[in-house]
């Protein structure tokens, strides 16, 4: 058994090397297929990051009535925080709100003059609520409008932002659907290209396979080296594709970082953090695909 396995590897490497042009062409096809899938993964990651960033900027503010006490606000905030849909809630007192307002508009003389003339703080205590998903705001709002909660709230700005929030949700869903569909289509194309390349490779060996059968080699002895050879193709293709990918990411990094700096996303970091998941899954998928393709292609020539 050990002999046979060792021999299969020896034949696989020999065949790879002695048919070097065919091997190079097959490896090139695999590299191109891998690169196209990874370009899509990158675009997907970038678009998800942008969408997530936009979503994070979306929030609603709830403004309390003037007579609401701090204890009532704390109690209200605890209820909001306990909701599973809420990511974060931040209390902004009217004093803080006024101080932030003054800081923001300190260069605007007309606003500063208007504030001097208004004796009292015109602003209200507020709670800024950010949901985990833009789809959750309507549920949060319906909770806010229930029973005693309504008595505390003067107004909320969800109605003003509703359209934007809904647009962001729709955009996110459309981008996600589009990315998944495009990835699926390109993956299918990659699968077909790889399958066909392996079939062509086996086709060029059909006469050899016939000779091997005629001299009494068993089907498994004939099949094993070609299947191992297809795994060798995958290994080489993967190494080359990863090198290319990192070179491309490195070269486009400065331009991407300029574009994405407000979104705090780095493609290089994304790949580094998800290295084993992304490349592990792809490697496994391509190896399985190659083995299945070789098995099917060579099976044609092994029938009696």
């Amino acid at each position: 058994m050990k002999h046979t396995f060792f021999r299969a590897f020896k034949f696989a490497f020999q065949d790879f090397w002695r048919n070097i042009w065919l091997s190079l062409v097959t490896v090139t096809v695999l590299v191109l297929a891998l690169l196209s899938v990874n370009v899509l993964i990158s675009l997907n990651a970038i678009s998800n990051s942008i969408i997530n960033s936009v979503e994070k900027k979306v929030d609603i503010s709830v403004f309390f009535k003037e007579n609401v006490t701090e204890a009532q606000v704390d109690n209200f905030q605890e209820k909001i925080k306990s909701m599973s849909e809420v990511e974060e809630s931040v209390y902004i007192s009217k004093e803080k709100a006024l101080a932030d307002f003054r800081e923001k508009h300190r260069g605007d003389k007309s606003i500063m003059e208007a504030l001097r003339q208004v004796e009292e703080n015109p602003l209200l205590d507020a709670l800024v609520i950010r949901a985990k998903s833009t789809d959750d705001y309507s549920r949060i709002l319906s909770t806010l409008s229930m029973g005693k909660n309504q008595e505390l709230i003067k107004y909320q700005n969800y109605t003003d932002h509703k359209k934007i929030i809904e647009k962001v949700s729709v955009l996110r869903d459309k981008v996600k659907t589009f990315s998944i569909s495009l990835t699926a289509i390109f993956s299918l194309i990659a699968v077909l290209i790889v399958f066909n390349s392996i079939r062509v490779m086996i086709y060029t060996h059909r006469e050899e396979i016939a000779v091997m059968r005629l001299v009494g080699a068993s089907n498994s002895f004939i099949r094993a080296p070609y299947i191992l050879e297809s795994v060798i193709y995958v290994i080489f293709a993967f190494i080359i594709a990863m090198i290319f990918l990192y070179v491309i990411i490195g070269a486009t990094g400065p331009y991407l970082n300029d574009f994405l700096q407000t979104y705090d996303f780095s493609l290089l970091n994304y790949y580094a953090e998800n290295f084993f998941v992304i490349f592990g899954a792809q490697f496994l998928a391509v190896v399985v695909l190659n083995i299945v393709s070789s098995g099917i292609a060579i099976g044609r020539y092994l029938k009696i």
């Binding site: 059968r213 009494g216 080699a217």
Partner: protein
């Protein structure tokens, strides 16, 4: 035995032959007479529509898929187009047949130089088929066919692509192999070879045996 192809073609019809161990038999006939079909049935590349085929006492009429490689190791076959593996050297082409049945490298390295000496190709062990002449390639084919010490050696037009000198060399080699006890079946169109051999000659015509002479001549 009979080999029938739909709708109405008999490649072989009612062929009844017995070839004894150690015989040298020439099988002759025009194109389409059934010679190649006969070889394919012997090597289980094809199956008889009716009748039985027995090789060394083994009825191969209903041979299973997994037994076919075992049969082919017992029957050495030589082809007109040599059928060598182009990306393997002379040594590797012959050793492949042994490696295919799990022989250890030590045994392979011991046997192959001996067989290369028999076919006079020891000095070409590291050459590829494309670097050999037709006669040399055929000798590699013979060496490969002999490596398992088969009971039967089937030669399907072995001299079809060779000149006179190489033809004589190959036929002399086949005779030598036969003298050592291997049954040889020679399928050929070469009149001179058949007449020179003065061995048993079976004539096929339209799938049937029309003549079977112990010491025959090429008569078509």
């Amino acid at each position: 035995m009979t080999k029938f192809y739909q709708p109405d073609t008999y490649a072989l019809k009612g062929v009844n032959l017995r070839i004894k161990p150690g015989e040298f038999v020439s099988i002759i006939g025009q194109s389409g007479s059934g010679k190649t079909t006969l070889i394919k049935l012997l090597t289980a590349e094809s199956f008889a529509s009716s009748g039985t085929i027995s090789v060394g006492g083994w009825d191969i009429s209903n041979i299973t898929y997994n037994e076919v490689p075992l049969l082919r190791r017992q029957i050495g076959v030589i082809f007109q187009d040599y059928k060598l593996l182009p990306q393997k050297t002379v040594f590797e082409n012959i050793s492949f047949a042994l490696e295919a049945c799990g022989a250890p490298m030590k045994k392979i390295r011991r046997i192959i130089p001996q067989i290369l000496k028999v076919v006079n190709l020891r000095h070409k062990a590291d050459n590829y088929p494309r670097q050999l002449s037709g006669g040399e390639q055929q000798r590699v084919g013979i060496a490969r066919a002999l490596i398992h010490r088969p009971k039967i050696l089937v030669a399907d037009e072995p001299t079809g692509n060779l000149d006179l000198t190489n033809t004589k060399e190959i036929i002399d080699l086949l005779k030598k192999i036969n003298e050592l006890g291997t049954t040889v079946l020679l399928v050929t169109h070469d009149k001179d070879v058949v007449n020179m051999l003065k061995k048993r000659v079976i004539v096929l015509e339209q799938g049937q045996v029309v003549s079977d002479q112990k010491v025959g001549r090429y008569v078509i």
